[in-house]
């Protein structure tokens, strides 16, 4: 383990398998705690590039139940797994009931598993602002595979695209309205379609409908989304689901698209971080800086318009090295 000693103590504890330190680091990331920055910086180069599997899909289709079985399957294969399960925060109270853990079976004494519930805290797109960095810390902690369950709002869960290496979209028989959902966004992000609840009637036709849809959309990347049928009550299809995920991960390597995807995700992340910082600083300055306050006053007085004001405010991006 190269240079573990040069790591800050918290980062060293995380890499060394201290689960409490790991849990607290995730909280710090969620809270925007200044202590999180140094830990994230120190861990970035240590976080192995492990598969990050996003599991999206409408409310109640069985995402958590599937993840629970997938964790069991992966543990059987000797792989360690971390799960981040995101649920929505109330826009009114800011609070949240995080219920995905209910489906997660015990494993109280298995150090090869880690489960973390996460509230979206107002972030759109089905994951929280902290999800990506939390996943990275989990990778640095040594987990072989990271599974991320999105909020479950269906068509808007597309932010998983910016986080996951493989995206699984879960659906259930009787697609009906869900075909609309698919057209509206989730369809384009799916690397694997999972038709769950195949113990219910209509599963075969759902898989056929889906296959027709997949055939209608030309795969730009060269990857043709796989379709897998599962049931968590029987249970069945879990090994096939993992095989499909692995097939996509292998495709990323063999086609050379993993690097491009990673590059795209990191660019998005950097832009997001800068946008957040500039936004915060600007919001702050608009209240304190006398010139900026006058500028805002003029907009309020309808002397100039918001676009003109924004152009005057446009911060320049400077590179510091």
């Amino acid at each position: 383990m190269k240079g573990a000693r040069s790591l800050p103590p918290v980062a060293r504890a995380i890499v060394g398998g201290d689960r409490r330190a790991l849990a607290r680091a995730i909280t710090a990331i969620e809270n925007g705690d200044p202590g999180a920055g140094p830990v994230l910086k120190a861990l970035f180069s240590r976080a192995r590039q492990v598969p990050i599997v996003g599991v999206a899909g409408p409310l109640g289709v069985g995402k958590s139940s599937l993840l629970n079985l997938l964790v069991g399957h992966l543990r059987g294969l000797g792989r360690t797994v971390a799960v981040i399960a995101v649920d929505p925060s109330s826009p009114f109270s800011g609070g949240s009931v995080l219920g995905d853990r209910i489906r997660f079976e015990g494993r109280a004494d298995d150090p090869g598993v880690f489960f973390r519930s996460m509230a979206s805290r107002g972030a759109a797109g089905g994951v929280a602002a902290a999800t990506l960095e939390a996943a990275r810390v989990l990778a640095a902690a040594g987990f072989d595979i990271i599974l991320v369950e999105t909020v479950g709002s269906g068509q808007v869960d597309v932010a998983i695209r910016e986080i996951a290496t493989t995206r699984v979209v879960v659906l259930v028989p009787h697609l009906g309205d869900e075909v609309q959902t698919l057209k509206a966004g989730l369809f384009e992000i799916a690397d694997v379609f999972c038709v769950n609840k195949t113990d219910l009637p209509g599963a075969d036709s759902a898989q056929r409908d889906l296959a027709d849809l997949v055939a209608m959309f030309p795969a730009g990347s060269g990857w043709v989304p796989r379709i897998v049928g599962t049931s968590t009550t029987v249970p069945r299809g879990i090994a096939e689901l993992w095989e499909a995920i692995q097939a996509h991960e292998s495709f990323l390597d063999s086609s050379g698209t993993r690097r491009a995807g990673e590059r795209h995700r990191l660019a998005t992340e950097i832009v997001g971080l800068v946008r957040d910082r500039v936004g915060r600083e600007l919001t702050h300055q608009l209240e304190r800086d006398a010139d900026l306050r006058r500028l805002l006053d003029r907009v309020v007085a309808r002397e100039i318009d918001p676009r003109t004001a924004a152009e005057r405010l446009r911060p320049t991006v400077r590179r510091q090295s």
């Binding site: 689960r19 409490r20 849990a23 607290r24 995730i26 909280t27 969620e30 809270n31 925007g32 705690d33 200044p34 925060s89 109330s90 009114f92 109270s93 800011g94 609070g95 949240s96 009931v97 995080l98 219920g99 853990r101 209910i102 015990g106 109280a108 004494d109 880690f114 489960f115 973390r116 519930s117 509230a119 805290r121 915060r280 600083e281 919001t283 702050h284």
Partner: protein, 141 residues
């Protein structure tokens, strides 16, 4: 830096709600979970049939500020002290534990002696539970 201000804005309290033991339903626990959510907390709802080991594991992984346990029968008299013992063993005795349910006075006394910080009987109002939870979480922070 503006960051410190954003920070001061308040971090949601994270609370684990679970019902140890094999019996019963979780209606009461769900009502409490929703009330805590409406008060702005992030409630990790672990549900029914949790062993003390699972509860403590969840509390540590989820890094909660507070644990609420729902009690329905005398069997819990063994399970709840076990949760407290396991918390101690994991150097997490500072996480406050409260309990709610139908608890005879005698048992309530024992639980308090074992370290349960607050106990709510069927007569407790949601307001009471929420404000106590807030106080406990703040005192632990």
């Amino acid at each position: 830096m503006p960051d410190s201000e954003a920070l001061a804005k308040s971090h949601p309290i994270r609370v684990l709600i679970a019902k140890p033991g094999l019996d019963g339903h979780d209606r009461g626990a769900k009502v409490v979970a929703r009330a805590l959510r409406d008060a702005g907390m992030e409630v990790i709802y672990a549900g029914l049939r949790q062993t003390p080991e699972e509860i403590v594991r969840a509390a540590l992984e989820e890094d909660v500020d507070l644990i609420g346990l729902s009690i329905l029968s005398g069997a819990h008299m063994a399970l709840i002290p076990r949760v407290l013992t396991l918390l101690k063993k994991n150097k997490a005795a500072s996480i406050p534990v409260f309990a709610g349910g139908i608890i005879p006075d005698e048992d309530a006394r024992k639980l308090r002696a074992a370290g349960v910080r607050a106990i709510f009987g069927p007569g407790a109002s949601l307001e009471q539970i929420v404000s106590t939870a807030q106080k406990l979480a703040r005192s632990a922070a």
